[in-house]
Amino acid sequence: MSAATPAIRVEGLSKRFRLGSRTGLGGPRRGDEELWALRDLCFEVAPGEAVGIVGRNGAGKSTLLKILARITAPSAGRAEIRGRVGSLLEVGTGFHPELSGRENVYLNGAILGMKAAEIDARFDAIVAFSGVERFLDTPVKRYSSGMRVRLAFAVAAHLESEILVVDEVLAVGDAEFQRRCLGSMNDAAGSGRTVLFVSHQMSALRSLCSRALWLDGGRLRAAGGADEVIDAYLEDGRESARAVPLAERRDRSGSGELRFTRLEACGGGSPGGAAPATGRRLVVRIGYASAGREPLKGVRLALLWSDARGQRLTSLDTRLGNADFEELPPEGEIRCEVPELPLLPGRYRVDAWAWVAGRVADDVPHALEVEVAPGDFFGTGRTSSREKHGPFLLRQSWRIEGE
């Protein structure tokens, strides 16, 4: 760590929330349950350092960023910040649908703390980055959501600040745009700005950040080199996926209208379930339950597959197959089949998501750990390996043109 004055110094930072309603007239106040979203956090970030923050849902990552961005106040402790903080806690904050793209650039810039002169000077660059030149004078309500996000990120990316605080912005937009966002954040980190970056995308964190903090239950569990901390964090997720039955996992979020109770992946070859293997049929059985007795309407389920390093590989998603469930019994089992598993042998992590009527009902990171066994994908008697062939295989045919 450099000997210079830290850009961010956090000492004993804590944030307490009171749970339960406090607004009813004469309602109980003293008996309210308390929740420490952050507890006694201490760390320093040197100027120009890019630091990733990992942790499960509810670990306090967003609360920490909100305190550093001065959106909410801590309950105890202190933080010292040297320099202007630009926060990208959600792109498009303050976009007004009735206003044109041009008007929104100025409004959004002002909201993020830019002066009108600064926005003037950067206007062309912002517009070029966003790629929405042709629609600048169209009300934003007519934009596609992708255009909106691009314009919003463009404004935020041109905010000049010594410290950039970013929360999961890369979760939006198309792949090409995500790549550009990453690039611009990379530049930000490269040009000596201090970056604090929260994401669930471990690969993005690894490539952007040199250091990482791991928050667990509001406390700092580990701090150090990004790869090291992220590996430890992923390993921990693996263990808890193994140790705690899915129905009893607490590190989940969502409304709870639907909860995953069991997830099981097996190779479909023989009944009773062999291990999943490359090239064989994969069957995932999903047990779920709901809070009520009513049938569930408009259910979308998704299983997101990542490799052991946290790189997202693919998704099994009812939305992709256009197979959202219009109605589901309040509890039961769903079966998802993949005729030929293209993933190469190795360990995979599966995050489970469920939406009911468009709202996130359950979100369990690392809900399942799948060990894929070697298999004969092409029916040639040969097996393949990740090291040689990459994460997955494609059906293919080869022939000489013209024959």
């Binding site: 959106i71 909410t72 202190r78 926060s87 007004h96 909201i111 002066k115 041109h158 040009s191």
Partner: protein
């Protein structure tokens, strides 16, 4: 990941700086974030730094309000005119031509509209400013800015509406041949008083609204009742005539009484200046403003958790 200075191209904004933009301070200021205890001073300097945001938010309010509307800014005039008409016809039917609650020698239409213009300024401000924190909760959850910006911006937007309605008032006075005398120079004072009263009340209401959403539901109702307690569609003289002195004094505690009567005095040449009402209004407005500022500041840092 390269550490320290890197050969990478600079991120856009930095280069813009080098090209002669407002130079960035080499030694950046340090912000200390600590739990807030007790009363907090009001940081006017910071508010001033954010003046452009106030302007942009006000501009947004104005642009958005009249987008996709035929009458557009005409609504700022149509509302007081319609109110004047309705009450004019009502009083005419109830009290007859002689009994209209107006100033001596001034047509009712002028007397009522002259009061409705500052009243609209106050009512508009109260409605949008009182709800400003909840209406802007998206922003409050996601970005830092001095929260005072939220209730102040709608006042500017209301002032624009006021300007339009006032232009019509000037035309009306000219049409009736009522020419301003030097008293009209006091007008800005009454406008300032209306804004101060509106801000004072709005600070209390918007901060309370963050905790108790009841305020939001009570606001339209409050504004309506308040209008009837203010000599807008009638004159204070017409209700206070022959009543005890203490009632007049109580009536004067309503800060808008002084504003509205002040407007009539400044523009319509009412016989004696309503100094006692203006003094009471000023005192009450300032008390509301100062207490509102401190109350707002006290709750400010928890707004993100509340709204």
């Amino acid at each position: 990941m390269p550490e320290g200075p890197s050969p990478r191209l600079n991120f856009g904004p930095r280069r813009a700086d080098a090209a002669g933009m407002a130079p960035h301070t080499p030694a950046p200021e340090t912000v200390v974030i600590e739990p807030q205890r007790g009363w907090v001073p009001i940081d006017l300097a910071e508010l001033w730094r954010y003046r452009e945001l106030i302007g942009f938010l006000a501009l947004r309010d104005i642009q958005v309000r009249y987008k996709q509307s035929l009458l557009g800014i005409g609504w700022a005039v149509a509302q007081p005119l319609a109110t004047m008409l309705v009450f004019g016809l009502l009083f005419r039917a109830l009290l007859g031509r002689e009994g209209m609650p107006t100033l001596e020698g001034v047509p009712y239409a002028v007397s009522a509209y002259c009061a409705l213009v500052p009243w609209q300024l106050f009512a508009r401000s109260l409605q949008s400013s009182g709800d400003s924190l909840v209406a802007n909760k998206q922003l409050i959850h996601k970005v830092y800015f001095p929260r005072l910006v939220a209730p102040i911006a709608p006042l500017l937007a209301a002032l624009v509406d006021f300007g339009c309605a006032f232009a019509v008032l000037a035309a009306m006075l000219a049409a009736y041949g009522i020419l301003p005398d030097p008293a009209a120079l006091a007008l800005p004072l009454f406008v300032a008083l209306a804004v101060a009263a509106a801000l004072g009340v709005s600070l209390w209401l918007s901060a309370l609204n963050a905790i108790y959403r009841d305020v939001r539901h009570a606001l339209p109702f409050l504004v309506q009742i308040w209008m009837f307690l203010t000599p807008v569609v009638y004159t204070s003289e017409s209700v206070l005539r022959g009543r005890p002195e203490w009632l007049a004094w109580l009536y004067g505690l309503n800060p808008m009484t002084g504003v509205v009567e002040g407007f009539r005095w400044a523009l319509l040449g009412a016989a004696e200046p309503p100094w006692s009402a203006v003094a009471a209004s000023t005192a009450v407005s300032l008390a509301l403003l100062v207490s509102g500022l401190y109350f707002f500041r006290r709750l400010e840092r928890s707004f993100a958790d509340l709204v």
